[in-house]
């Protein structure tokens, strides 16, 4: 592996959404969607972020790219904190960070042709015009496996997989260094998913792009990611290299999550860890470890003190009191 260079470092990131319950002062409560998250993404790697719905993985992605304002914490992109920047200062960073969305149906403007959709970022950042713009669009279409004649069509004329390709071409248009893929394949059919994943890998190799890959399909995440972070109720519970995480999961939640994957080629002996109950509400998350209410190893300390994310082996981080001794 190449020498690791930090591209993005997140320190104590928090994103709270206010909700009003009842009347008067003191009735304001917060959904703690992302609550004190720390991680680093290195240049050229794919960092996977997994977790169940509502755990804050998409909110993390959207906060990183400043679609949401940060409640607290730092986002260091190549050493510069972008968490408090104004829109105008942020513009050069918008060029370096792009996003691919989950739903290829609602993320493309139905009234624009494909070449307008891909060309728009070029216009905003004044990267190309005239003949050069045309050539750039043609090259982008080729990169994502679409044909030249598709340029003047509208999104409704395409299938889901092709639309997702248009969305990827739009993200690539500004030559970004970092792309956040927010569940890019979960709306696609199985046979199309593999096409898109292969394409993302080709593009990464060709342009040296760093990915943050957010997904809930655990087998696909293992395939595409170099390192993986597992989220539960707004916090990261475990980070490790992907093979290490799948073969040697340390956090009880990760163990349960991985054992729940229905796998056609699973060993018969491996039994499933069935989690009781459901995820608590992020409005008033429980004190102590957030997983304690569903964890079979939970003891008194888990309900009292919040475990910290600590390095237990080289490159393997886990937030659990069981690993403290």
């Amino acid at each position: 592996m190449m020498e690791k260079k930090e591209l993005l470092k997140v320190n104590g990131l928090k994103k709270y959404f206010p909700v009003k319950k009842g009347f008067g002062k003191g009735s304001m409560q917060y959904v703690k969607a992302v609550d004190n998250v720390n991680f680093t993404i290195y240049k050229g790697e794919t960092f996977g972020l997994v977790g169940e719905s509502g755990c804050g993985k998409s909110t993390t992605g959207r906060t990183l790219i400043r679609l949401y304002d940060v409640t607290e914490g730092e986002i260091l992109f190549e050493g510069t904190d972008i968490s408090r920047m104004r829109e105008r200062e942020l513009l050069p960073y918008r060029k370096k960070m792009q996003m691919i969305f989950q739903d290829p149906y609602s993320s493309l403007n139905a009234r624009m042709t494909v070449s307008d959709i891909i060309g728009e970022p070029l216009d905003i950042h004044r990267l190309a015009s005239g003949k050069e713009r045309q050539d750039r669009i043609a090259k982008l279409l080729e990169d994502v496996g679409l044909k030249q004649e598709h340029a003047n069509r509208y999104p409704h004329e395409f299938s889901g997989g092709q639309r997702q390709r248009v969305g990827i071409a739009r993200a690539l248009a500004v030559n970004p260094e970092f792309i956040i893929c927010d569940e890019p394949i979960s709306a696609l059919d199985v046979s199309i998913q593999a096409q898109v994943v292969n394409m993302l890998e080709d593009i990464q190799e060709q342009y040296g792009i760093t990915y943050l890959f957010i997904a809930h399909d655990l087998s696909m995440v293992r395939h595409i990611s170099d390192r993986i972070g597992v989220m539960y109720l707004g916090q990261l519970v475990e980070i490790a290299e992907s093979d290490e995480l799948y073969e040697n999961p340390q956090h009880p939640y990760t163990q349960a999550l991985l054992s729940a994957i229905p796998d056609p080629y699973k060993d018969k002996e491996k039994s499933r860890i069935m989690l009781e109950g459901e995820v608590p509400s992020p409005i008033n998350p429980p004190k102590g470890c957030r997983f304690a209410s569903r964890c079979k190893y939970a003891s008194d300390i888990c309900r009292e003190a919040e475990p910290e994310l600590k390095e237990i082996e080289k490159g393997h981080f886990c937030a659990c009191h069981l690993n403290e001794k």
Binding site: S53, H216, P262, L275, E278
Partner: protein, 335 residues
Amino acid sequence: MNDAILKINNLEISFYTHVGEVRAVRDVSFSVKKGEILGIVGESGSGKSTVLLGIMGLLQHPGKIKAGEIIFEGENLAVKSNKEMQHIRGKKISMIFQDPMSSLNPVFTVGNQIAETIMTHEHVSRKDANKRVLELLELVRIPSAKSRINCYPHEFSGGMRQRAMIALALACSPQMLLADEPTTALDVTIQAQMMDLLRDIRKELDTTIILVTHDLGVVSEMCDYVQVMYGGRLMEEAVCRDIFDAPGHPYTKGLLRSIPNVKKGSRERLKPIEGSPPDLITPFDGCPFAFRCPSTMNLCMEGASQEWEIGEKHRCACHLCNPQVQALLKEGGIE
């Protein structure tokens, strides 16, 4: 097979839209044995959900059963009127849908909705019906069921709503349960709970289940028997393990190659099926997979294959499985 609870013969379902006839289900025949869990897998548009709607008599306006028979307990459901179907639907056959929030009525309590179903089909008093509701909610393991009876669907979490849907479907102890992507909208840990529940229901009540899904992992853990559909046709059917260990059809093989193997965790490239699913509006008599198949022959363009027996209880609709074609291929007399 004598103990078949449901037998479908040459079923054809079409949607008559303003741009032409969409042949969503073509010449599909199969049978389901009592107490079995049958899985139907396929991608979106393969016609798998349409088959279920056809059995339930729930096809919406431009859709029609064009030909074929659906034999359930010796009666042909395909020719029954809506009124006759009302006595079967919910009582003998019931269905679970993918999205529990849009299938439950938001303005009635969950208990109320289940009791209504019971009172419609069985002549019981409200009190008895409510007693049965409580039993059902406990059967599907809703925690503190007693206090949940008077809750509205929005007060339930996603997993609990799906449990309530299953309770609703089981209200009149049907012989058969049709489940249309019951776990797709759920998280993996909740999905695991739900698969467990469905398996227990089959064991306890001996209910026959048809499970429609696109998730091969779910199929491998739940089903006894699997059918693969593509472009409105049945491609392959076999005992569950055989589909994964010895797939016969090029489509099934392609599908299995395009999912990453969790266990190995290899970073080796995935092998996707090239191209995109067929457009069912263009009339085409050949094999629907012919345009994406790596081993297409001229024969495939001319007509779809019949089903060939390639193993015990393992049937595959591909010309490559035809012994005559195999012989010709060996001689090199075919392209």
